[in-house]
Amino acid sequence: MSAPTVEAPRRVLSWRPGPVALAGAIAVALVIAGELVSPGFAGYGQLVNLMRVAAFLGVIAIGQTIVIIAGGGGVDLSVGKVATFAAIIGSRVMAGDDGDLVPAVALALAVAAAIGLVNGLGVTLLRIPPFVMTLGMIGVVQGLILAYTGGQASGRAAPALTSLVNGRLIFDLPGLLFLWAALGLLAVWLLRRTTFGWNLFAVGANRTAAELSGVRADRTLIVAYVLSATFAGLGGILLLGYTESVFLDLADQYMLPSVAAVVIGGTMLAGGIGGYAGTAVGAIVLTVLQGLLTTLDIGGAGRTVVNGVVLLVLLSLYGRQRRLRS
């Protein structure tokens, strides 16, 4: 009788950087490149500023990470519009008054969550592909925005919100960064230390096996879309604190960058692999890249091309699919 082929799993001897470390290294490299091209780019103040700009993308991409981890072609294209809508609602309800801050944020997040619920129901019960469901939702939310505002956003951020976001706390860091850190920790905790998070990874890694392990996959997916919209809404509120006043397409441009941040951070679009730490670094990478491109005086056209090429390079580092042949 031959010896059993059981053996201890091979330990990986050669250390290969994980996606988070790699993305972090890229961010550092970009900062160094920026400093070389235009001195001052790597200054403390500027780094803080870049982080602050990255925070909005970072918060909106929390939800995107959750939805993408859930797999099944999961993606939420409506995050930008939902963020805009939340900011518009928040701004109108708080109307520059600290007293109305809490109800305003609560209402804005509730509306965002409701939009996420509709996305989730469409994706699970009606089996509409997430890409199209959330794409259609963009139009609906834009319509809701116009119907709600009549085309004229009103109100203003409450001073408390503005000082929370912009106010300098320790080390001259704006409050926004502490909020982002807190939300990021919340996201990491949610993904790694809750039954929801583990169910989410299970559904994303193998939906059939998840169902056969007693996971309620549909429910998990619906919650994922609700969370996605809620974090998007939160991102919109923070952006409101930053800009103080809103306008009708405030956060729209975060739609595809949020997906890119997730992918650059090493989360697979196929689902089941990834995490928020990578996304956060991905958001920083994208923001530093934008900052670098802004300071490079190469004109709008050149900037756009360089942006695309660098994105491709970043994606090819970790965003690759498996081979057909084994």
């Binding site: 500027q46 870049l50 700009v53 085309g151 956003a153 900052g291 802004t294 300071t295």
Partner: protein
């Protein structure tokens, strides 16, 4: 589902459509305008993601109501949605199909609507382009002089920073015609005044982007003397400069919107100065006056029209001297409100013979 039957259905649908079309093809085309009073006016607006546009539409509706009372017009058909050039072509075609007499259009492209404008012209419909001039000869442009608009604030800024001063620029969208027109004019002003333009970045006419871009620029060029920006982004630029605590050192060309003026008002105590050149949403109203006159059969007076472009004056400029007065009048409006101005019907009539 077996494939042949699906193909059959698709083929059948296409076939039926073709048949119907062939049958109806011989009937006469849309009648278009040409009738007398009351007139039907169409508005085509291809972008709604901005309050400026909303103000434009609402202002037009209010002015239209006045004409309605006089019995000069009967219906205002509004096509206003976020769309691209192709969508705006469809908007205008829909308006043509509604038999309007004149179309007021805020065009999404300087050139790409030429063909559909010709269609309108062939149907006897008069077209007036506002906000952004178009190249088509079938259209009457009723616009402010964007170059002049840019020059006013550029000259102010050049005066503030002085010869040899260093500035950065936050522009709108590269390649956008209004952006190019404004920037080319401003660039000339700065060159003539020997002001150094250190860097030009795009803020997409978006307040948040403008704020982020300015933040990045400040990191690289912390010692600039001034920043020139276009409308829609001044608030963001201001906040970026404020966050860097350099309001006292850096001069900002502003805008005539309540949001920016509120910031300006707050900073005035610290000696902050700025300028806001009005880019009036009321251009649509001016165009409406022109349209009614034109539909009445009048023609433009000599010297009032250059080619096919009627330049309406920039209503006014908010500066340090008259700030109190304008702030007092507009301060109660929402942040997104743009200071406005339009020709009166009487002023508009003077453009005609």
């Amino acid at each position: 589902m077996p494939r042949p039957s699906r193909r059959w259905r698709a083929g059948a649908a296409a076939g039926v459509l073709t048949l119907i079309l062939a049958a109806c093809g011989s009937s006469d085309g849309g009648s278009g305008g040409g009738g007398g009073r009351p007139y039907t006016i169409g508005l085509s607006n291809g972008f709604v993601g901005s309050e400026w546009r909303t103000q434009m539409v609402e202002g037009l509706q209010a002015a239209f109501a006045e004409y309605q009372k006089q019995g000069a017009v009967d219906e205002l058909v509004v096509e206003s949605a976020d769309t691209d050039v192709n969508g705006q072509i469809q908007q205008i075609r829909n308006l043509i199909n509604r038999d309007v007499d004149a179309i007021i259009v805020n065009p999404n492209s300087e050139t790409a609507l030429d063909a559909v404008f010709r269609e309108a012209e062939q149907q006897g419909i008069q077209v007036f382009a506002i906000d952004q001039a178009v190249t088509s000869k079938d259209v009457t442009n009723v616009v402010i002089d964007q170059a002049e608009w840019a020059r006013i604030s550029a000259k102010w800024l050049a005066g503030q920073v002085g010869e040899g001063g260093d500035i950065v620029v936050v522009n709108g969208i590269a390649g956008h015609p209004a952006n190019e027109m404004r920037w080319n004019a401003a660039k000339q002003v700065f060159a003539d005044a020997k002001v150094n333009v250190l860097s030009v970045a795009d803020g997409n006419w978006d307040q948040a982007t403008g704020q982020q871009v300015m933040t990045n620029l400040l990191a690289t060029y912390p010692d600039v003397d001034g920043v020139w920006t276009q409308d829609g982004m001044a608030e963001g630029v201001f906040r970026a400069v404020q966050a860097a605590d350099r309001l006292k050192q850096i001069k900002i060309s502003g805008e005539a919107r309540v949001g920016f003026m509120r910031l300006w008002n707050q900073a005035r105590a610290d000696g902050f100065e700025s300028i806001g050149v009005v880019n009036p949403p009321g251009g649509a109203v001016s165009a409406l006056h022109m349209a009614v006159n034109a539909l009445d059969g009048k023609t433009f007076a000599g010297g009032k029209i250059n080619g096919n472009t009627v330049t309406i004056p920039i209503p006014y400029t908010v500066d340090q001297a008259n700030f109190e007065q304008h702030w007092g009048a507009a301060g109660g409006e929402s942040d997104a409100y743009s200071l406005d101005g339009s020709l009166t019907p009487e002023q508009a009539a003077e453009y005609f013979q």
